[in-house]
């Protein structure tokens, strides 16, 4: 492989990884937008989504098969289930805390995260579950560049979901309400917007996207376990911040950038994969030093 091919291959692989990060980061950023909460339980919703997708697939694989169609239907089921779970979590654990200091709600988010993780641990006995599908390893070569069909389907699905979300937020009434709520909740209430409903919808969508990512990751990589949300939660949080937390386009961009950074970070000469994460976090800190609200974050006027 020439350096050029290798570069291209890293780029493609980084995009695949980045689209997972982006999907999860979207939920982070949306929730942050409406209630200013760093939802630490979001990674665990991804994990729950993977298990829900697994359950969904075993339900539908009988008549739809375990190919992309079956997985797609399972994914929709998982999105629905985990979306509802997200709404319930918001009602029980976050809603009563909205008047409290900001950090308190962070703690309830941590409690939810700990709860989901340990519930899954208890239910699975800690075992890794093989997410078996009928997906092959097939793909094709473009020169020296290898693309698998799975990668293409995956990136396309992620892109479609993200475009749909962007359209929803920018074109629909609910999307407009969502943006309004993120700017000023009290004013929205006075204008007759049902703020609680908007928050609920936001949680439904954010959690649903996490579930979609979880199911796709399960199907693509082939195994799921109770702790799988931790690392990706951390990374999605990072991605959301790089892009500018609260900004939907920023989260997509941040996810892709993080995926690319990690992909290329493995290949830095003389440093090696052991320093990959140090490299990623250093870049992150540098970005924030020069751009304190992330790449696409709104630079809020803080001075009066």
């Amino acid at each position: 492989m020439t350096w050029y091919d290798s570069f291209l291959q890293q780029f493609v692989d980084g995009l695949v990884l980045g689209s997972f990060y982006a999907l999860v980061a979207l939920g982070y950023t949306m929730v942050f937008g409406v209630i200013k909460l760093l939802n630490f339980a979001h990674g665990d919703l991804y994990m729950t989504g993977a298990f829900a997708g697994f359950g969904g697939l075993s339900l539908v694989s009988g008549f739809l098969g375990a190919g992309w169609l079956g997985i797609f239907v399972a994914m929709l089921l998982a999105m629905l289930a985990v979306g509802c779970l997200g709404v319930v979590i918001e009602r029980v654990a976050y809603h009563p805390m909205l008047g409290a200091p900001r950090l308190s709600i962070l703690i309830t988010a941590l409690a939810v995260s700990l709860g989901l993780q340990n519930a899954a641990l208890a239910m699975t006995g800690g075992q890794y579950t093989a997410f078996s599908t009928d997906l092959g390893f097939g793909g094709f070569n473009l020169g020296n560049l290898f693309l698998s069909y799975n990668q293409i389907v995956l990136v396309t699905t992620a892109a479609v979901l993200m475009i749909a979300l962007e359209l929803f937020v920018s074109r629909t009434l609910y999307g407009r309400a969502m943006r309004a709520v993120s700017i000023d909740k009290d004013m929205c209430r006075m204008m007759g917007i049902n703020v609680s409903a908007v928050i609920a919808v936001t949680f439904f969508i954010g959690s649903g996207l996490a579930a979609a990512a979880g199911t796709m990751a399960g199907a693509y990589y082939g195994s799921i376990w109770y702790f799988m949300g931790f690392l990706i939660g951390l990374k999605a949080f990072t991605a959301a911040v790089i892009g500018g937390i609260g900004s939907i386009t920023g989260a997509m961009l941040g996810g892709l950038i993080l995926g690319l950074l990690e992909s290329f970070g493995t290949h830095i000469p003389f440093i090696g994969s052991e320093w990959k994460d140090v490299f990623t976090f250093s870049i992150l800190i540098l970005v924030l030093v020069f751009k304190p609200t992330g790449l696409l974050g709104k630079s809020e006027v803080e001075r009066m």
């Binding site: 630490f40 900001r102 703690i107 409690a111 709860g115 208890a122 140090v278 976090f281 800190i285």
Partner: protein, 337 residues
């Protein structure tokens, strides 16, 4: 956390309105503890309990109390950064690690005397405080959170990758210290060391709270711009919070490393930072007795639930959620504003 929230804190307003007669029994209890006369008696009682406990209880109790006292030191340190100065820190374990590793490396690999190594560890921690504090001064709380998280992870990965820190296995055979012929080695010895540390941390926190610097932190927390207009050096004040917090963390780390005799990167993970933050917020940010209470709950909670096996953290999570729902500002919140 941010300066927009204080006016919406129901607890604060409520309390201010009824300053003279606290309403619910919990508030009355706290108020009783806060009267100066009783406070002295209370301090002496607690100290007496702390001194006597290891002689009337099992070694297990001594060990987990030692652990809780370590957390008291760490939580009081983080409380300075988060509670006093209002800076969110998700990488506090980094300071803890810097203290532990500096002493571990100096004593175990270079044969430096434990007490002689302490100043180096404190300097290293102060330096780490400046390094972390420096780039973050311009950031809002949520960006601050991720930068401190990033620093915490960088410290942990560095400890894992370097040879001098022993890689993933960490350092072992860190020699136990002696003090004027007293060889500190049993769990009871270390218990008393941590009692002393926790008391010192308590006194230092109290003094800082009442000091000029403490009031500067309060101003900066509530309104940076107004504080600056009043002649407070914003940068120096924030850096002072990080450095002070770092020194508390390092002191915890220094004695942690000799207590266990072995340290490894898994002690300084992101979860550790989160647990310390959890204790601070759960107890009541900025409120010293609240933070101490939080430290004890976070350590003793999962211990008392050990009989539930795998379910113990699930139950702990539910309890945590319930506490927060009933006491949204923490169990014993700070009222000064």
């Amino acid at each position: 956390m941010d300066k927009h929230s204080p006016p919406t804190r129901p607890d604060v307003d409520e309390h201010d309105a009824h300053k003279t007669k606290p309403r619910n029994p919990l508030q009355r209890l706290y108020a009783a503890f806060e009267s100066p006369g009783r406070r002295r008696a209370l301090h002496l009682t607690i100290l007496a309990i702390l001194i006597v406990t290891p002689w009337i209880s099992s070694q297990y109790t001594t060990v987990i109390l030692t652990n809780a006292l370590l957390y008291v030191v760490l939580c009081l340190g983080l409380n300075i950064v988060v509670g006093y100065a209002g800076l969110l820190d998700l990488g506090y374990a980094a300071f803890f690690a810097v203290g532990a590793y500096t002493v571990g490396i100096l004593t175990q690999q270079f044969g430096v005397n434990f007490w002689a190594a302490i100043p180096f560890a404190l300097m290293a921690a102060a330096l780490a405080g400046v390094i972390i504090g420096g780039p973050t001064l311009r950031l809002r709380s949520d960006y601050l959170a991720i930068v401190t998280l990033g620093f915490g992870e960088i410290v942990r990965f560095t400890a894992r990758n370097l040879e001098i820190t022993g890689g993933a296995s960490g350092l072992s055979h860190i020699p136990e210290p002696s003090l004027f012929g007293w060889h500190i080695d049993s769990s009871i010895d270390f218990y008393y060391v941590f009692v002393v540390l926790a008391v010192l941390a308590y006194i230092a926190s109290q003094r800082l709270f009442d000091s000029r610097l403490g009031r500067a932190w309060l101003y900066v927390r509530h309104d940076e711009d107004a504080a600056e207009a009043m002649g407070i050096n914003r940068v120096a004040t924030k850096l002072a919070a990080y450095v002070t917090g770092a020194i508390f963390g390092a002191i915890g780390g220094i004695f942690f490393s000799v207590n266990l005799g072995a340290i490894s990167p898994e002690s300084f993970s992101f979860q550790q930072s989160v647990l310390i933050l959890l204790a601070v917020v759960l107890g009541g940010m900025g409120k010293i007795p609240g933070v101490i209470l939080g430290a004890f709950i976070v350590v003793l909670g999962p211990e008392l639930l050990r009989d539930f096996g795998t379910l113990r953290l699930l139950i702990f999570a539910v309890l945590l959620l319930l506490i927060m729902l009933f006491r949204p500002s923490g169990i014993w919140p700070e009222k000064r504003s």
